[in-house]
Amino acid sequence: MPGYAEILVSAFIVLGGLFGLVGSFGLIKLRDTMQRLHGPTKATTLGIGSVLIASMTFFYLIKGHVSFHELLITLFLFLTAPITANFIAKAYITRHIREQDLPATSSDYGWSVYDDPPGKETEEG
């Protein structure tokens, strides 16, 4: 087992742990929900990213075979994290923020949580 590999892997692991911890810490530290939303979507992403890199490095450098699994998980998380954050934000906005407290949209239509899309006025019933 090459020594630099060990150091590299360990470093990524420690980094991952730190970012993961900070991300979750944001969850309890920050005051309002919208702020808290920033923690996990970023800090934790890097945390888990580091962990995945550590894992790949570990398997390649120490176990001696290439592992693509981690890439898949990364792909998955990168695809899903914004959507989740978007939904959580909307869930929060609809329950706690009035339309007038938000900046205007710059077009005729309001934000989609409050306003129907164009041509949708006839939908009710």
Partner: protein
């Protein structure tokens, strides 16, 4: 060294889980709970991956993959319930 690093990371993500638990328990909003659950999912994935590194096996990879997938789906479902009531209207 790796073992030590792993131990450190385990403690970090473990603490992270406890923070999430705190948020889930006290809320105050359901959006916070969903957020915490989602974060918890990410922490668990990290733990699973690290566990695989520790044990030197890739056998737990499917679990992390699946956790990532269902974590997303259930977070969206919870949010949709709050947003629309019917999640697959």
């Amino acid at each position: 060294m790796i073992t030590l690093a792993l131990l450190f990371a385990f403690v970090c993500f473990g603490l992270g889980l406890l923070f999430c638990l705190w948020r889930i328990t006290i809320g105050p909003d359901n959006a916070d709970r969903i957020l915490a659950l989602d974060t918890m999912v990410i922490n668990v994935i990290a733990l699973l991956v690290l566990y695989g590194v520790w044990k030197g096996t890739a056998i737990y990879f499917e679990a992390s993959m699946l956790v990532a997938m269902v974590g997303f789906v259930s977070s969206v479902a919870y949010c949709r319930f709050i947003l629309r009531g019917d999640i697959i209207e």
